[in-house]
């Protein structure tokens, strides 16, 4: 039963990340997940000092708040200071991460708080932390949190699908027909913040980032339709979770590490095949034109 719960948890994270990651990579913002994973530190520290506990809800709120702050910073540097996307992302998150570190050292190094406790959740422990209704065990807490998140993300994306696609593909046209481009950017980033922060706790930051960037990049090579790209990246994420999990069991290694590696490997294979096919096509073209 534990296997199933772990795979389901990873798949839920994969689905969330695939949906949002597809938009992010087309906006050249795939590293936003990485940025948020570091930028949540000050929020977590402040939440800890305000509540003086390591309860996960206040920390989650703190993390989500700093997620939105880093998004605002990125937007500001990008739109107002006119920096490139990647530069904006880099400046914003390193700044917030530094603020987090300063806060920790300022409040004293004796605090029982480190980044790992929130950032590097361990997927292997997911089945242990279960929820009960009365006497009834209804399964892991993370499962319910992630399922709720998935429902929120899916409905939010369905409702705003055309606006999100239009603002991703052609900002100026979207704006000309009266769509508030900045609002929908924040809307998307709010989703990314929620997903990353919620998923950190269950699977750890590295795996979330791998899920955001890897499967959508792989799917992009395989299809010419954006909708299909989303479906395909969800599927790839789930398949990688299954293969990765059993690889970890087989090698007796880290589950998150194995899944991340499989994601990377699958991308590499698809990329190589794609490259090979292109070569073939261009060779045929040159042959027929000769």
């Amino acid at each position: 039963m534990n296997d199933i719960w772990i795979i389901i948890t990873a798949s839920l994270v994969a689905a969330n990340a695939a949906i949002l990651g597809s938009f992010l990579i087309m906006r050249r913002m795939a590293m936003v997940g990485d940025a948020i994973s570091h930028a949540v530190l000050p929020g977590i520290v402040i939440a800890y000092f305000l509540t003086n506990s390591r309860a996960s809800f206040p920390m989650l709120m703190g993390a989500a708040a700093s997620g939105m702050i880093v998004t605002t910073f990125i937007q500001f540097f990008n739109k107002k200071v006119k920096l490139q996307n990647d530069a904006s992302i880099g400046i914003s998150y390193t700044f917030l991460f530094a603020v987090g570190i300063i806060l920790i050292s300022f409040f004293g190094s004796n605090v029982d708080l480190d980044q790992e406790c929130v950032l590097y959740g361990e997927i292997a422990y997911v089945p242990i932390d279960t929820l009960f209704i009365g006497e009834l065990n209804i399964g892991p807490r993370q499962f319910w949190i992630l399922l709720t998140t998935l429902i929120i993300i899916v409905s939010a994306v369905i409702m705003a699908y055309r606006k999100l696609v239009l603002t991703t593909f052609d900002e100026a046209f979207a704006s000309a027909i009266g769509i508030n481009v900045v609002f929908w950017q924040y809307y998307l980033m709010a989703g990314v913040s929620l997903t990353t922060v919620v998923s950190f706790e269950s699977v750890g930051a590295v795996l979330v980032i791998a899920f955001i960037a890897g499967p959508p990049a792989t799917a992009y090579l395989l299809t010419h339709s954006f909708k299909r790209m989303i479906y395909l990246s969800i599927l790839i994420g789930i398949v990688c979770s299954i293969i990765g999990y059993y690889t970890a069991v087989w090698l007796n290694g880290s589950i998150a590490g194995a899944i991340s590696s499989v994601i990377g490997l699958v991308f590499a294979i698809v990329f190589a095949v794609d490259l090979f096919k292109r070569r073939q096509v261009s060779r045929q073209v040159t042959q027929t034109s000769n």
Binding site: R162, D170, S175, I177, G178, H224
Partner: protein, 259 residues
């Protein structure tokens, strides 16, 4: 026939990093005409269009379209951006992009109706891209991409069209097809505001003209504003431009020799 004003700007000013891109632009344009916007690179043509459509917030001034605030006439306004402004590797088909033109009218949730679909097909037909409907947009030539953008604008069924350099990178035949299309739209009462670079064709294409060089140099009917003096003022007094303009005007005054 559409009469009255199409666009009206008042002291329109956009400043980037303390440098004005357009400065104190004040004009009124008629409706139902093909109007050229001309000026050298960096003279603020794209910026002017974007400021009129509210894509960028002007630092000073405002614009009205059909004597109304922009938000009251949004669904009558269409825009053809500079082709290079989007990522053509986005996973979408020609049809997908043209369908975006319908979203403006339909709202963002409703399914496309049979009528929408026939409008999309018609729009593709008009730019001669029907055969490419299912083609992935990354596999189009520059001229084909330009025609997809035009089809998207047509699908909007707007009353005023702002087009940023629709003739860049298209061959002569396509250019002629596009200008004929624009003329037939004008004949249906549409207003077309077109950023253009080629001085040779300007007099044939446009009825009105906006000459721009950060400031407004001249605005008015082509026969009044297109002359050596105003073009020198717009493009600066470099020898090559000047002689080009001179020969252009000569060609114009002796059309028989040319034909």
């Amino acid at each position: 026939m559409m009469t009255g004003n199409s666009v009206e700007t008042h002291n329109l000013t956009v400043i980037y990093n303390k440098k004005p891109a357009i400065w104190n632009i004040d004009f009124t344009l008629p409706a139902g005409k093909i109007i050229g916007v001309m000026g050298p690179n960096g003279s603020g043509k794209s910026t002017l269009l974007k400021a009129i459509m509210g894509i960028i917030e002007p630092n000073i001034g405002y614009a009205k379209i059909f004597d109304k605030d922009l938000d009251d006439v949004r669904e009558r306004v269409s825009y053809v951006p500079q082709r290079q402004s989007v990522d053509w590797d986005f996973p979408a088909s020609v049809w997908d992009v043209v369908a975006m033109g319908r979203y403006a009218r339909k709202g963002m949730l409703k399914r496309l109706s049979a009528e929408d679909k026939s409008i999309i097909e018609e729009s593709l037909e008009k730019v001669n891209m029907t055969a490419f409907a299912q083609r992935q947009i990354s596999q189009l030539s520059g001229g084909q991409q330009q025609r997809v953008f035009l089809a998207r604008a047509l699908a909007q069924q707007a009353d005023i069209y702002f087009m940023d350099e629709p003739f860049v990178g298209v061959d002569a035949a396509t250019e002629e097809a596009i200008i004929n299309l624009l003329k037939s739209m004008r004949d249906q009462g549409k207003t077309l505001i077109v950023v253009h670079h080629d001085l040779h064709t300007a007099q044939d294409y446009f009825e009105w003209m906006v000459l721009l060089n950060t400031r407004l140099v001249r605005v008015g009917p082509v026969e009044d504003v297109f002359n050596q003096e105003t073009l020198t003022e717009t493009y600066g007094g470099t020898l090559t431009t000047l002689s080009k303009v001179a020969s252009l005007l000569q060609e114009k005054s002796f059309p028989m020799r040319h034909k």
